[in-house]
Amino acid sequence: MKRSHALFDIAVLAVYLLAANPALTGIPLHEFLGLGAFIMVAAHVVESGEGLGGRGRVGQLVLNAVLLLALAVCVVSGVMVSGTVLPSLGLYASGYHFWDPLHAVAAKVLLAALLVHLVVRAPAALAVLRQRRGLRAAESDCLMGR
């Protein structure tokens, strides 16, 4: 993992956390933040394509499947209950009472799975960031020594 990827992942997490709390941001901002978070998460998924799963990594594969499915349900249902993004495009969606409970459940599953993902992956990202910081400290020590 590169340092730039680790920093991007932290930014994705920050945007997601903001989008995951509509009670704090208000619904209209939540809708736009949610779309932004989806685009960033999609970029993260594509960038991490190598680590989606494979032989001997069943647990990781299952977790990633749950994450992707919850993300897909959350985004589609979110668009279908949208009261700001869709109308801003001159559109509206019927079926609010079908999609709204789905959106709430998918959001909770996504959050829970994401916390597990975070616990599993954070050490690797922190190691990359720490390694870089260690290198920088060593470099400055060398310069001071001169």
Binding site: L68, V73, V75
Partner: protein
């Protein structure tokens, strides 16, 4: 590169599949352009003076609401409360906060304990070095 393409395809396919399953499960749902006679997606009301999300009227004997379960339209709909209190509103300080708060608390305490432990170790090391000197 191939795995990245596969990841992109999987994500796009999942979003498409969820939309298709959803539209199949609830055939009445659709995305349509807003027209003058478009009904409110929650209440089914097609008044040309839409009150918007911020000012849903109290039951007044004139406005009707269509029940999403039974399809019944009534001026005394028992689901009016959910329209006023829940539609287009964050449900509450909800589970997200109840999950995120303890996680933030545990992480914060863990970082604090780590930092304090490191500080204590450093102080002890410096003292030892002084004694040795």
């Amino acid at each position: 590169m191939l795995k990245k393409l596969v990841a992109t395809a999987v994500l796009a396919a999942l979003v498409g599949a969820v939309a298709m399953v959803g539209f199949a499960a609830a055939p009445s749902t659709a995305i349509q352009p807003i027209a003058a006679d478009s009904p409110c997606p929650a209440a089914g009301c097609a008044s040309d003076a839409c009150h918007g999300f911020e000012a849903v009227p109290e039951p007044d004997g004139a406005h009707e609401m269509v029940c999403p379960e039974a399809g019944c339209a009534s001026t005394e709909c028992h689901g009016w409360g959910s329209l006023i209190e829940r539609y287009h509103q964050a449900s509450d300080m909800s589970l997200n906060v109840w999950i995120l708060m303890p996680v933030a608390l545990v992480l914060g305490l863990w970082l604090l304990v780590r930092r304090m432990g490191r500080g204590a170790r450093r102080t002890a090391g410096e003292e030892e070095a002084c004694y040795e000197a």
